[in-house]
């Protein structure tokens, strides 16, 4: 029998309407005994997010940080954190499959940066939330990885 443990994950992504998607995922993670933080909802607005995120990811007890790169803001966050050796191992990057360097055809700077990140750290996942292809949804990726990570933590393997 494996004992239960709790992990802490942070969900980064676009604001506006897209935040609803993150809230639904966070709720499902919580039902699985995982603390899922959404900066816009959970972090005190007294300090600007750009000033606190780097500090939090470097020094806190956060286990995983999921970045769904779906806006200029989240692309900037990825660019900021992707090569920081204290943050990158915690990063799990999600991108629409057309922008993934191995599955899509995009020649953009960001796609090129994903390739660099894959070569160095791995963990760049292609998704399709419209379910028009065989790629998993972002929700499925986040839930599957978080739950497996939780088991690994319970077994003392991470």
């Amino acid at each position: 029998m494996v004992r239960e443990v709790c992990i802490i994950v942070v969900l980064l992504g676009a604001g506006g309407k897209e935040i609803r998607k993150r809230r639904i995922i966070a709720k499902k993670l919580r039902n699985n005994g995982i603390i899922a933080l959404i900066p816009e909802d959970d972090f005190a607005p007294d300090i600007a997010p750009s000033l606190i995120e780097e500090f939090i990811f470097k020094y806190s007890d956060v286990d995983l940080v999921f970045i769904n790169v779906e806006s200029w803001g989240s692309a900037t966050e990825f660019a900021q954190f992707h090569d920081d050796t204290r943050i990158a191992p915690k990063l799990r990057v999600l991108t629409f499959h057309k922008y993934h360097p191995l599955y899509g055809s995009s020649m953009s700077y960001l796609s090129d940066l994903y390739l660099t990140h894959i070569a160095k750290y791995g963990h760049v996942y292609a998704y399709d939330d419209k379910e028009e292809s065989n790629f998993p949804t972002s929700e499925k990726i986040i839930l599957t990885i978080s739950i497996r990570y939780k088991f690994l933590r319970a077994l003392g393997k991470v």
Partner: protein, 98 residues
């Protein structure tokens, strides 16, 4: 099972000295402002924002915006939080002012 998992998230939230210190501070002074928590606990503001986020996320504390500004927040321990702390027998003596 769901209840057990919820308790697990609460244990994880409480398994941190800084978060316990923050929780005691809020418990002793309901509706305390963010900056005052930072001053009393001597915890850096970015770290404080994160720890408060964890405590809020698991339902131990709640946050309220002060009037006229969305950048000034005050915190209090939730009723659920008080019950849980009582159950866990960790409502202890007040934190001495630093």
């Amino acid at each position: 099972m769901e209840e057990a998992r919820k308790m697990l998230t609460i244990y994880r939230a409480l398994d941190n000295d800084s978060r316990l210190k923050i929780l005691y501070t809020i418990l002793n002074e309901p509706d305390i402002a963010f900056n005052d928590i930072a001053r009393k606990t001597e915890i850096d503001k970015p770290a404080l924002a994160y720890h408060l986020g964890v405590l809020k996320n698991v339902g131990l504390v709640e946050m309220e915006y002060q009037k006229r500004s969305k950048k000034l927040t005050k915190y209090r321990v939730t009723e659920q939080g008080k019950e849980i702390l009582k159950k866990l027998n960790i409502v202890v003596e007040p934190v001495k002012p630093s």
